[in-house]
Symmetry: C2
DNA sequence: ATCGCTGGGATTAGATCCAATCTGTGAGCT
DNA sequence: AGCTCACAGATTGGATCTAATCCCAGCGAT
């Protein structure tokens, strides 16, 4: 039950339903989701571990604000770890798994053409998830997935910028090509570059952080 | 309160007081530490996040067993992220901070000479913690410190092997030297090698994992 | 004799209750 | 008028209570 509450709150934070710096009281959430305060409490601790909310003893939780320094740190973690998974996946993948990843990437191209940001981000999650599953490094994967929601908060603001989805699609295809030809290190390096480019582009747009200074 | 319980349980797992695969019941811990079961529950969730215990719904927690694959994953995370912190620290450090790190490393040499494993590991933690503090990347640091307890479980078994402490001391001094001469990338690379060597040496001794198959 | 099933004890998950702490408003003082 | 302090309401953290689930011993059937 705590898990469901965490999932719901996570989505609300990522989607901006809960604004940065907004206070989250256990009682309000409990009433809204029709559960007791206990699962809410546990969910908030989980989200605090992911950095989505900040907890202060005897005060409560508030939505962690977006800020450039935090963005950089989140992407440092992804940049250091995701290539490891991609490289491992490239060494282990079989034809069937590769075909499945190709299919997912094809879907993402459709979303990109339609400028369907929500759809694209969802498919993108599945693509990365598919690669991670093949890599079979659950512990490393857990660290990365822990940063996903935060990363998506930044990307969601970022994707509003025009013409970025196509760039992403091309980079994904390059990674899959490298995996297909068995160039594990290349695949990892391409993934690393992909993440770094995303981070640098995001960093160039500090105006994305200004809104959301909402202080209840 | 939950934090204190987590700290205590973490120490007991690392020190082997709680054996691998041993079941941890909320009630028993609550009674032993003279708190209610609620903080124990929260502590166990925290420890599950660090991978020290495995939770199963409606069943409870048990101490995660040591195993070679998990060791590799833990060290992959450290190898990818700690050099980033070291490099950042090298770029930001001032003379006073450097002197403090030198002092800590001197302490570690004393422990190494005395073959004082517990003392050495404690000082080692302080050294790494000191470097991390200078790096000023709290989010990255949080990920690494989350892996620390697990890494220490393996190291603790490892340090029983003779003559390893001295190697470690030398490597630490090399890292500090690189930091002192402002060679940030060298410092990071040396740190990476330091971690990788530790991991490889550990992997060469699978017998360290055999004990602890204790299934309460 | 071994396997499967049932019932009781143990254990966890969730709800409710209570005490301690914080926040914020408003009165009183300078 | 502005600041300080105190009190009341709100909120969290911890304890206790209840229901659901699991584990396991013991019994019966094959």
């Amino acid at each position: 039950m705590a898990a469901e509450v965490a999932t719901k709150l996570r989505a609300e934070i990522v989607e901006g339903v809960l604004a940065p710096n907004e206070r989250i009281t256990q009682g309000a959430v409990a009433e809204r989701l029709e559960v007791s305060r206990l699962p809410v409490r546990e969910a908030l601790q989980q989200l605090a571990g992911e950095g989505l909310v900040s907890l202060e003893r005897d005060v409560g939780a508030r939505v962690t604000p977006l800020d450039p320094k935090d963005l950089i740190e989140t992407y440092i973690v992804r940049e250091a770890l995701e290539p490891v998974l991609t490289e491992s996946a490239a060494r282990r993948i079989d034809a069937e798994q590769l075909a499945a990843l190709r299919a997912i990437n094809d879907e993402s191209e459709v979303c990109a053409e339609r400028e369907d940001i929500d759809g694209y981000l969802a498919v993108d999650r599945r693509l990365h998830g598919g690669i991670f599953a093949v890599a079979d490094l659950p512990r490393v994967q857990a660290v990365i997935t822990g940063t996903f929601a935060t990363a998506e908060r930044y990307r969601r603001a970022f994707s509003i910028l025009p013409h970025r989805l196509e760039t992403s699609v091309v980079e994904h295809r390059m990674i899959l090509d490298a995996i297909e030809r068995g160039a594990a290190e290349d695949a990892g390096e391409l993934h690393r570059i992909h993440i770094r480019r995303t981070r640098l582009t995001l960093s160039e747009h500090p105006e994305l952080f200004s809104r959301g200074g909402d202080d209840g």
